[in-house]
């Protein structure tokens, strides 16, 4: 009788634990939202009470954040991303690089808050001046938004960081070309060509880029001069020589092969014998 009573008690208790646990999980899933994060203190305070184990606490918060932001059932979970990754994890362990780029990736890709993502990467680079990966990421994010000026500036910062790979100088030059500042881009590629640390392959790429960009920059300048001539005279020039005689340009450039640029007076357009490199 006593044994039966004990078994009954155990069964009732086990049932109570199981059903209450399931009920709590349902309530939790239904109404939790981002209120979990309201009680997450700033990393500075957590660090103060960590008693010398701040990096470990940073690991745990990071692991928790990965699981939390992998849960797609909470629509408003992006409100505190910058706080979690920037104010908590980065304050606990400023040298922990992964949370900066992962937090930025969540912010820019899923949270659609590009500026917050870039702020997080900036903060990481400020605390870790040799972590070139952070401005490198920021550069690609800017490229994705079409902000080529900012992308070039980020690649520049990444390239200047201690221990950064030489390839970053090529990225910087390439991104400068995408801003439309072709002369500046040529100058950056010339830096790559003249850098003795680069291998033959990198120098060959730089030489090709200089050739392409030189043609594009010359054609761009000649088009602008033709437009000026047309505005003054109401017609395009009969030849490129007229641009010099009218004082709009001081001299005509030659293409990278040393040949003169071809001119079509009827259309008023300039092309080069090396036009295949223009992709036209």
């Amino acid at each position: 009788m006593r044994r039966l009573l004990v078994m009954l008690l155990v069964a009732v208790a086990a049932l109570g634990v199981g059903s209450a646990r399931a009920r709590l999980a349902d309530i939790d899933a239904a109404g939790r939202g981002t209120k979990d994060l309201l009680y997450m203190p700033n990393g500075k305070y957590l660090k103060a009470i960590s008693l010398g184990h701040a990096p470990l606490i940073a690991d745990f918060v990071y692991l928790w954040a990965i699981q939390y932001y992998s849960d797609y059932t909470q629509a408003d979970r992006y409100r505190y991303v910058e706080h979690v990754f920037g104010d908590v994890i980065a304050e606990l362990d400023p040298g922990y690089i992964d949370p900066y780029w992962l937090g930025a990736l969540i912010l820019t890709t899923e949270g659609k808050d590009e500026e917050a993502g870039l702020r997080l990467l900036d903060r990481g680079f400020e605390k870790n001046p040799s972590a070139w990966i952070l401005p490198f990421f920021a550069g690609w994010e800017c490229e994705r938004f079409g902000q080529f000026d900012r992308a070039a500036a980020y690649f520049d910062r990444a390239a200047m960081a201690p221990g950064a790979p030489l390839d970053l100088f090529r990225l910087k030059a390439g991104m400068t070309a995408r801003t439309g500042n072709l002369r500046e881009a040529i100058s950056r590629w010339q830096d790559v060509l003249g850098d003795p640390r680069n291998n033959d392959e990198a120098r060959a790429i730089a030489a090709r880029q200089i050739r392409t960009l030189t043609v594009r920059a010359d054609v761009q300048d000649l088009d602008a001069a033709i437009a000026t001539y047309r505005a003054r005279n109401g017609r395009p020039p009969h030849s490129l020589g007229e641009l010099v005689r009218s004082g709009i340009v001081s001299a005509l450039p030659a293409d990278p092969d040393g040949n003169a640029y071809a001119y079509d007076p009827s259309a008023g357009t300039v092309s080069s014998a090396a036009s295949r490199v223009l992709g036209s």
Binding site: G52, P55, A58, D59, L63, I66, G95
Partner: protein
């Protein structure tokens, strides 16, 4: 010197026979092994979590060893009345305290060597050179030596429960000593400021012995830091052991 060595070896043997030590060591080793699996949950560097968890396990379980073994070292001898037999021999009281401390240091040394070796192997298995962790492990041991000195100090004049509370409190205060500096800036009165300055200067600053973050990120310590930190921690421990000897010399056994 022979008396100190004899007492130290006896204390070491006694602690080794103690099951608590095995339990703590097993927990530390299991935790380091588990860190491998925990690291699989992360995005990015897995080895960072192994290093953090390992260094914290060494420090935390070393603290438990220092507290649980250290606080009852002297008390047990008094309670069992073996102290009378011991002090009836040509053994000075200070030799007894120093021997007890040396024995506890051997226990802590063994614990740190075993758990440290397990961590180094775990990191090496992840494909990273573990040498960067050595300064953090060595300074972690120095920190434990300092905590053990406080455990022996408290053990020399009070019961194990109070000694454990005192030792843990010292560990907590040692990691919060920066707050006296902060408090001093907030204080308006001269007496309060002087008290904060005094406490900041006198209490151990255990953060000086904590280089876990630098070690994990492979950052070099500033020149001379490691040596100064070792000298700071060990000198402080010597002062506390001397204080424990002085207190124990004056103690009367009824």
């Amino acid at each position: 010197m022979n008396a100190i060595i004899a007492i130290a070896l006896n204390t070491f043997r006694e602690a080794i026979r103690d099951r608590i030590l095995y339990l703590i060591l097993a927990f530390a080793l299991v935790l380091i092994a588990v860190s491998h699996f925990v690291s699989l949950l992360t995005v990015g560097s897995e080895v960072k979590i192994v290093k953090d968890l390992g260094l914290s396990a060494i420090s935390f379980f070393g603290l438990l060893t220092a507290v649980f073994v250290g606080v009852s070292l002297v008390f047990k001898e008094i309670e069992r009345r073996t102290i009378y037999t011991l002090l009836a021999q040509p053994v000075r009281r200070w030799q007894f305290v120093c021997g007890k401390y040396a024995g506890l240091s051997l226990v802590l040394g063994l614990s740190v060597v075993l758990t440290g070796a397990a961590l180094l192997v775990a990191v090496a298995l992840k494909g990273e050179a573990p040498v960067d962790l050595l300064p953090a492990i060595v300074l972690g041991f120095v920190e434990l030596e300092l905590i053990a000195a406080f455990a022996v100090l408290f053990s020399s004049f009070t019961n194990p429960i109070l000694a454990a509370v005192g030792t843990v409190a010292t560990y907590v205060v040692g990691h919060l000593s920066w707050s006296f500096d902060l408090l001093e800036k907030r204080m308006s009165g001269d007496i309060g400021k002087a008290m904060c300055r005094g406490l900041h200067a006198v209490l151990p600053n255990l953060d000086r012995l904590n280089v876990k973050a630098s070690a994990v990120h492979g950052l070099a310590l500033p020149p001379g830091y490691f040596g100064s930190a070792v000298v700071y921690g060990l000198s402080y421990a010597v002062l506390i052991v001397i204080l424990a000897c002085l207190i124990f010399e004056r103690r009367e056994f009824v």
